[in-house]
């Protein structure tokens, strides 16, 4: 059974758009199935969805499946919270202040920045023909960010979050001895 109204999917999380308007067609199966995981059955804002589920056995079956799955979501073990707090306490005790709050000495930061700038200036000619290689493309990024190590800032370099999987893996493979 299809109840498509051709409106496309509604803005996610905006339950109010699902309140039925007199004279307007009901929301579509695709819209309903997009929204099922976000739905709180007690939320009155989803009244349009309720109406759809009442008349569409396929969507009603998917709703039952989604709610059954959602009830079985894995919960985090208590060890995460206790472990984070314990390690944060250890770091605070070791350093007087939380390690994450400490900064490298200003002189060291300036030295690192100067060294990185000098290295960039010296290496730019050598690197100019390497742009096609993914690893060198990262190295030649015009907006180098800070590379964070486990302990602190290491050098100029890419932010791993910004890298695509393939690129990151290529970089890691390249670095692997």
């Amino acid at each position: 059974m299809s109840m498509s109204n051709g409106r496309g999917t509604p803005e996610e999380g905006n339950g109010s758009s699902l309140v039925p308007v007199p004279g307007e067609p009901s929301i579509s199966c695709a819209e309903v199935r997009d929204l099922l995981p976000l739905r709180d059955p007690a939320d009155a804002g989803y009244a349009g969805l309720e109406e759809h589920l009442g008349g569409c056995p396929e969507c009603a079956a998917e709703a039952r499946f989604v709610y059954w799955m959602r009830a079985l979501r894995p919960e985090p073990p208590a060890a995460i919270l206790t472990g984070v707090l314990e390690r944060a306490r250890d770091e605070a005790a070791a350093g007087g202040t939380p390690r994450w709050h400490r900064r490298p000495p200003r002189a060291l930061a300036w030295t690192l920045a100067a060294a990185a700038a000098a290295g960039l200036a010296l290496g730019i000619g050598f690197l100019s023909d390497r742009g096609a290689d993914p690893v060198w493309r990262i190295a030649l990024d015009p907006e180098p960010a800070i590379w964070y190590g486990d302990e602190w800032v290491v050098a100029g370099g890419p932010v791993p979050d910004a890298l695509a999987d393939e690129l990151l893996m290529a970089l890691l493979e390249e670095m692997d001895p």
Binding site: R73, P74, L81, L85, L172
Partner: protein, 189 residues
Amino acid sequence: MTTGQSPDGPDDAELLAHAQRGDERALNLLVRRHQGGVYRFLLNFLRDEDQAADAAQNTFLRALRRLDGFRGDSSFRTWLVSIARNEALSLSRTRRRRREERLVEGDLVSGPADAPDEVAIRSDEVRRVQEALARLPEKQRLSVSLRLFDQLSFREIGALTNSTEGAARVNYHYGIGRLREWLDEHVKR
């Protein structure tokens, strides 16, 4: 700054500022608020409960250390999960290298990533759902988990799985469809 806000507590930005100054109560609240999403993402990435819990701890501590890297152009939750993703990639790489070393030494090669049956479980149903999820391709698995268990938008899921918003939606629906088929066949509901 786009951060999550709880109706009965301070928002993430406020908690972060206090946690950075060493306020343990703020850190406690922050971890409680986000540990579920981070843990489930890691569990579906690594398919090993112990490793997921360890990686979740590392994720929170790493986030606190590199808080300056949070630019506020995504939600704090999305930023946190992106750190978790890097943590998981790094762990996967280490795990793969260890497996290769064992292979060279002539050991039996069998790691948790290839053995969904070994995922620790709380109940038979949870175990079966985790097994079924583990059968899905990675992007479908992560899309289903992030949407179903943590109510992320398709845009956020796309950003976390290196996909577009549309691809995230398609991955979710394919994933749900395959899960239904498999679980209808193997699990009595």
